[in-house]
């Protein structure tokens, strides 16, 4: 099996608060390969940012990874020391945040802050670092970079600040760039500039990008693969086309129905009923069941498992589970061989005649 650049397996992250333990991320798994753009989409409180912070291990003090692993080139970085992690951040994986104003230090010049990142990870001296800073600013399309390095964050516009943030993240040419809502604070025209820039840089430098956002438009524009999150769990993951054109989870379907697009301007939007989930008060079954039109009894009681619903397409919804099982039973009635049923649906009968699900076979 080929090694993935980053492989997150059954990651759990929780925060200790006065009101109890908040399980912000509940068993997230995904793989990221070099040169790919992965989108993580979800509402506020869905755990998408916490997933990103868990990979970088930059959680708030009351938060910690409680289970699972994050493997970078085959090594589990959740077991790494603080010193090893300091080397990981910046050099292997960088992050850009939503608000460029609060993530830049207002009392240091742009050049100063860029140099800091460069000198921390390389043995360049002050002069070389300054030259590299100017080179980076040129790369991200900041005009007059030699003049800009002497300026302070307040002297720059929002779009320029975000470019500086990207330059800083790219300082040591990381393999992975995590972008946490990178354009949410920006206007559409500036957003287009930044997205264009990220796509360009990704092609030029061949890095992988994890795009964390709530904006389905940005996701559709940028991403090869998409993870849809709700209540700290993965609802559905697959290629961009699979998620947008063949959504298999009720939450994804609802989300796509509820946003206005060019075609439905005269139709009524179909909102998702109810309110976003309270992580302190998680249901024992599917996180989305309280807002789902098609919720069944089993949805309230048991957490649905991920099932293959298509090529490179997984969803965690009991409806798919039942549909696949039904298909398996029908195929059996029609006289299909066990191997065939297994390949098509993932279900097979064991020696006692009970149905069991084996994901691995469908995957291949």
């Amino acid at each position: 099996m080929s090694e993935h650049l980053l492989s997150v397996k059954d990651l759990h992250t929780s925060f200790t608060t006065d009101n109890g333990e908040v399980h912000a991320v509940n068993g997230i798994s995904f793989n990221l390969d070099a040169g790919k753009v992965l989108g993580i989409v979800g509402e506020s409180g869905s755990g998408k940012s916490v997933t990103a912070y868990s990979i970088m291990q930059i959680l708030a003090e009351n938060g910690q990874i409680t289970g699972g692993s994050v493997e970078y080139k085959g090594q589990d970085i959740t077991k790494w020391s603080k010193k090893q992690m300091a080397g990981f951040r910046g050099k292997c994986c960088s992050i850009i945040f939503q608000d460029p104003m609060t993530s830049l230090n207002p009392v240091f010049s742009i050049g100063n802050q860029l140099e800091e990142a460069i000198r921390l990870h390389t043995d360049k001296n002050h002069k070389e670092a300054r030259a590299r800073a100017i080179e980076l600013l040129t790369l991200v399309g900041v005009n007059e970079p030699a003049k800009r390095v002497k300026q302070y964050p307040f002297e720059l516009s929002g779009g320029m600040r975000q470019r500086v943030m990207i330059a800083m993240a790219l300082a040591c040419e990381p393999d992975i760039l995590i972008a946490d809502e990178p354009t949410t604070a920006l206007d559409v025209t500036i957003q287009a500039q930044i997205l264009e820039l990220m796509q360009e840089l990704q092609k030029k430098l061949g890095m992988a990008i994890i795009m964390v956002t709530h904006d389905l438009g940005v996701i559709a524009t940028m991403c090869d693969e998409i993870i849809v999150m709700y209540g700290g769990r993965v609802c559905e993951r697959g290629t961009a086309d699979a998620i947008f054109y063949e959504p298999a989870h009720e939450y994804t379907k609802g989300l796509l129905r509820s946003i206005p697009n060019v075609n439905n301007s005269k139709e009524r939007l179909v909102p998702i009923a109810g309110n976003p989930i309270n992580l302190l008060n998680m249901p024992s079954g599917c996180a989305f069941c309280a807002r789902c039109d098609k919720a069944m009894k089993i949805c309230l009681e048991q957490v649905p498992q991920e099932r293959w619903v298509g090529k490179d397409h997984l969803a965690s919804c009991w409806l798919n589970d039942l549909a696949l099982k039904e298909k398996a039973e029908k195929m059996q009635a029609a006289g299909s061989s066990n191997a065939e049923i297994l390949r098509e649906t993932g279900w097979t009968k064991d020696a006692d005649g009970a149905w069991i699900y084996t994901a691995e076979t469908v995957q291949k």
Partner: protein, 348 residues
């Protein structure tokens, strides 16, 4: 005077003095000579980038700020006039006075209190626009108190409960405080407060921007339902073009305090004429991977200039791919390109 329009805004100006040096102020032209009209029961969408003055238009229109110039009419009656609007004759040409200059209107400033009953506002941030020390009942009841719209306590309560039902809140919510509600519900409280006085016109300033995607649709639908039920007109200010397109009958596009284009929503979305509108529309990320992959984005160079140093002539000329000398010399006016599609551009 025709009463075809509910709200008419002519040559509205709003300048804010900004200190640019010792004992020196420069006017920041947040809104510079904007004219539009809204019919009863119609939704006019107002879009533009941050800092283009769209919020100021809404606030100035309701006279939350005193306008620097221009005229505002409600049902044909002038409710504000700064005295700088040229009077027009029957053919729509300026009347020239004895001194050879156009005759200007007379300044008018009326007591706005009666008009506050007709014109209301819903604010962007449902977290800071509701008083945390008041119960929902008091928040919604306050406009009723101000305008004395009830005979006794029982009637007040009945009105409040009816309003809460209208926006989809339960009666038991009445005694709760704003912090006990989610963002979407808070926005419902803000809307119920605006509706309390039975207005004909509501300025909605980014009412869904702070809400989660799944909740946005609920609130957008509610705005549409209320319009059907109550026949209220909206000025819907937002930066999300897809949401604005969904809710609006017509859309106006602003840039640096000036209006660039004003047209029917479909017309504007499908065949924008102004280069700024074209680039703005092409920059909207479409929630559809196939469209997104095919589309060629018109990416504008640079940032929006500071409104303190707005370019001469057409404000967009510094970023416009079609700019000519004429654009720098003279400011283009909004002209009708057919079917009420108004564009302010020399070249298109």
């Amino acid at each position: 005077m025709s009463n075809e329009y509910l709200i008419e805004v002519e040559h509205l100006k709003q300048y804010f003095p900004v200190r640019t040096g010792f004992a020196k102020t420069t006017p920041l032209k947040a809104v510079d000579d904007i004219s539009f009209a809204i019919k009863p029961g119609e939704t006019l969408g107002l879009v533009g980038e941050s800092g283009c003055g769209k919020t100021t238009v809404g606030r100035t229109l309701l006279q939350l700020y005193k306008p620097t110039g221009g005229r505002v009419k409600y049902e044909g009656k002038t409710i504000f006039d700064a005295g700088d609007v040229p009077e027009l004759d029957a053919e729509g040409k300026p009347i020239i006075g004895a001194n050879g200059k156009p005759v200007l209107s007379k300044p008018v400033s009326v007591n706005m209190l009666p008009y506050r009953k007709k014109m209301q506002m819903v604010f962007q941030d449902p977290y800071s626009s509701l008083n945390p020390r008041m119960t929902v009942e008091d928040i919604i009841g306050e406009p009723l108190d101000v305008h004395k719209l009830y005979a006794n306590k029982a009637e007040r309560r009945e009105k409040i409960l009816r309003l809460m039902e209208l926006v989809g809140l339960n009666a038991e919510h009445a005694t709760r405080y704003a912090h006990e509600f989610s963002g979407g519900q808070r926005q419902r409280i803000g809307i119920a407060r605006a509706l309390a006085v039975d207005p004909r016109f509501i300025v909605c300033d980014e009412p869904v921007s702070a809400l989660d995607v799944s909740i946005q649709a609920q609130v957008v639908n509610m705005f549409e339902d209320l319009q059907h039920k109550l026949g209220v007109a909206y000025l819907f200010i937002a930066h999300d073009l897809l949401v604005v397109n969904h809710i609006s009958d017509r859309i106006a596009v602003m840039y640096l305090g000036k209006m660039m284009e004003l047209a029917d929503a479909d017309d504007l979305m499908n065949s924008p004429i102004h280069p700024y509108t074209q680039s703005l529309l092409s920059a909207v990320p479409m929630p559809d991977p196939k469209i997104a992959r095919q589309r060629k984005r018109i990416v504008l160079e640079g940032d929006v200039p500071s409104p303190l140093k707005a370019p001469s002539g057409c404000p967009f000329r510094t970023r416009c791919p079609y700019a000519t000398e004429q654009c720098a010399a003279e400011r283009p006016q909004l002209t009708d390109r057919g079917n009420g599609h108004m564009v302010a551009c020399w070249n298109k």
